[in-house]
Symmetry: C2
Subunit: 131 residues, 2 copies
Amino acid sequence: MYATDFRMTHQRRLILEELKKVKTHPTADEIYVIVRKTMPRISLGTVYRNLEILSAMGLIIKIEGFGNQRRFDGNTNKHYHIRCIKCGKIDDLPEDAITNIEVDHNKIKGYSIYNHEIQLSGICEQCHNAK
Amino acid sequence: MYATDFRMTHQRRLILEELKKVKTHPTADEIYVIVRKTMPRISLGTVYRNLEILSAMGLIIKIEGFGNQRRFDGNTNKHYHIRCIKCGKIDDLPEDAITNIEVDHNKIKGYSIYNHEIQLSGICEQCHNAK
DNA sequence: TTATTATTAGTAAAAGTTATCATTACTAAT
DNA sequence: ATTAGTAATGATAACTTTTACTAATAATAA
């Protein structure tokens, strides 16, 4: 038999490692810029493909809730995000910022529930001061 | 002085009314198909522009959290959504499905908070039966 | 009415993502 | 080691979704 598993290629590992390093929540093209410093001939398609695969593997998180550009997060611990509606920056929320949330699965008829996301939006300190 | 306000054009009113009629959460191009039945010469750009304006006016809701296509909701009462990860369908959650959520604004330093969204994902009844 | 200007239709362009395909490189069995 | 099989890559084209542009039109206040 031959492997049907994912292969950990140099490109895939680099993308994963760079994403784990940063505390921001970069887009695919921002990651493309970062990894090209180490691997100048990597293609944008490879970045997109691997970000999808890595998130399917559960090694990174895909953030789709803000704006129309996908973002990625190397931190796979369960946490929520807040985005500044002025500058678009995304920050992590502290773990204890949202508490007591209760989801009554019986109230949601027909669905088996897999996940929930919470996204806050507001204005960050910099943008508040800038105005 | 002349008006700096929004004008309620036929196009804008039609888009609003059709969106209020449906219980689904259509994309811009789905709304385009609907309104062309009444107003065949309306342009897709007009649909996009008015959906933005109507949501800025607070008359409709823009849903950005699911997938990479924007959706719109004529129901402006505060409510949450669930999406089927198989077929992509979006349903409203009953009001009492999520309770007790507490957001501690003091824990989120620097931000003034404007809004929060919650998005569940799961598998709907039809897709569950289909498998 | 008339003057002003927001809005429109039509179209082009931009932005973001996915698909295609010949080539490369990883993996497992010989 | 060598080979066979196949997942992954780089390069690029194509596609989808959204935004921008512009001359013409239409809504509104005076």
